[in-house]
Symmetry: C2
Subunit: 276 residues, 2 copies
DNA sequence: TCATCTCATTCCACTGACTGGAACGTTTCG
DNA sequence: CGAAACGTTCCAGTCAGTGGAATGAGATGA
């Protein structure tokens, strides 16, 4: 019930819905993936509902996962464990990106005192790698590890503008989901915006994903200097917040991160995009 | 070769070394766990060496993990994928703790401009959940998702002081590993320190885990007000950094987080400690 | 240039780990 | 107090998974 949210279900991105529910591993991954960023605890019944696994199997595999320390057994069900968190933090790309970027994000926050995001592309969505903000930031629905569509967020537009043309066209030719009255759903308009992003080095978003929120973003370039490996953004509420005024600061932060990446050429930026 | 570090290998904590390498799931988890925070890319041969799996099996399971999006196949081997990062970030306890704590950590950083940590206990080690700092913080060896022993870090001492007596005694009765010349290896001395931590609400560390580093930490209390669910710390270099001067700020940040936790009593803080 | 490593990948016949439906307790709720 | 939903246990069949061996692909060195 409560997991119905308007963000794209991650499950859809991976096409393993039915692909491999017949192997142990497939079942295990399906169970792990049945947790959304909104969930704290999932009952066995809920897991069964979401994954479509037979009750018996779900029970057994979930139990095994607990045994392996990837799931915790709570009073009313299961939840992703600290061990899972630990493993996730060892994902090399995200972790090293985060470590390199953190000081710059920090600076950016201090300069603006608005919510700062760092995001990367995965499939056809933004995945947030970091989010820092003060006490007054209850509004933004983004969560670290959460997803948002590419076409209606500043970070997404930046990444899309610098993406491989094939991937960009894939997004532009599919129907652009409307999220608010301000969401850009006309491919032509969006394409023109993306072109100007390449010139200016920043993208804006004005209540296109969430009412009341404005955003500026700028790309973090990879080693080749062509493709963006990530993007930095500053978000604030309609009213006091003027995104244009922060464009320079955001651009500076993003370029700072880019140059640090360039300086230590061990973090390979793979061009591997979403698998067919 | 390069993965030899003096931090406790997480593998030791879970006793699945040989326990269940015979099930698919066991193999999969073993492969995932064979990545340490230092590793970027692991070759198949290296995975085989660390896990002890037969080459054929390792190859097959690793391939399956790639298919399920938990591993990426890079040029020279495998690495933990962004999907893994995403999953890890959904671990409810760590994630909600992080979200609640972030604004306070932010404040603390702005006030001190020194490296700020947030850590929790897992087994008999500290696991870092957040680390924020500026450009001048290359020294601290800690990493988000990384581990450190309890007895030689400020965060560890705070958590130990507020831990279940049984767990505390387990640590105190085992030999305390020496990490520097300043590491406290005398159980009696450590126990006395822990007692004073309960009074003062802060713990100090002076080059006990890493030479040249000083640290203050304070506990984040759970709903019951007795046990600590996490701890906040500020770290700085010998010389300019005076930990005592930051004790108040650290305590304030930790208490701020504690009170937010208390205010929204949905985040259950389970008393479940490390399983036997 | 060729020999000799090491690593990655493919193959295949055997087998026991995994399967999932059904039956049994337990809790929740009207 | 029934009824419904949930969690747990059980078990015989079988197919997914197994791992040793052979082959291909690269790297190293003399």
């Amino acid at each position: 019930m409560t997991y119905l949210c308007d963000m794209p279900r991650p499950v859809e991105a991976y096409r393993e819905d039915q692909t491999a529910l017949e192997t142990v591993l497939g079942k295990a991954v399906a169970i792990l993936r049945s947790f959304t960023p909104e969930d704290q605890i999932l009952s066995l019944a809920e897991i069964v509902r979401r994954t479509g696994l037979p009750k018996g199997s779900a029970h057994r595999v979930a139990g095994d996962l607990v045994g392996h320390g990837l799931l915790d057994k709570a009073a009313r069900g299961y939840r992703l464990s600290g061990g899972m968190f630990e493993l996730g933090m060892r994902a090399s790309v995200e972790r090293s990106l985060l470590e390199l970027a953190m000081p710059f994000l920090q600076d950016l926050y201090e300069r603006t005192h608005e919510t700062v995001h760092l995001g990367v592309t995965d499939g056809q969505a933004v995945v947030y790698v970091a989010k820092i903000g003060g006490h007054r930031q209850a509004n933004a629905p983004s969560r670290v590890g959460g997803r948002m569509p590419l076409h209606c967020t500043a970070i997404g537009k930046v990444l899309l503008a610098h993406a491989d043309p094939v991937d960009r066209n894939t997004v532009l030719s599919a129907p652009l989901q409307r999220r608010t009255a301000h969401t850009i759903v006309a491919p032509g308009l969006l394409r023109r915006q993306l072109e100007s992003v390449l010139d200016s080095g920043v993208a804006f978003e004005r209540e296109e994903s969430t009412l009341g929120l404005l955003c500026v973003a700028s790309p973090v370039m990879g080693l080749d200097g062509r493709t963006a490996v990530a993007a930095v953004s500053v978000t604030g509420p309609v009213g006091r917040f003027r995104p244009e005024l922060h464009a320079t600061a955001v651009r500076a932060a993003a370029q700072g991160i880019s140059s640090v990446i360039a300086r230590r050429a061990d973090t390979r930026s793979p061009s591997s995009s979403a698998g067919a």
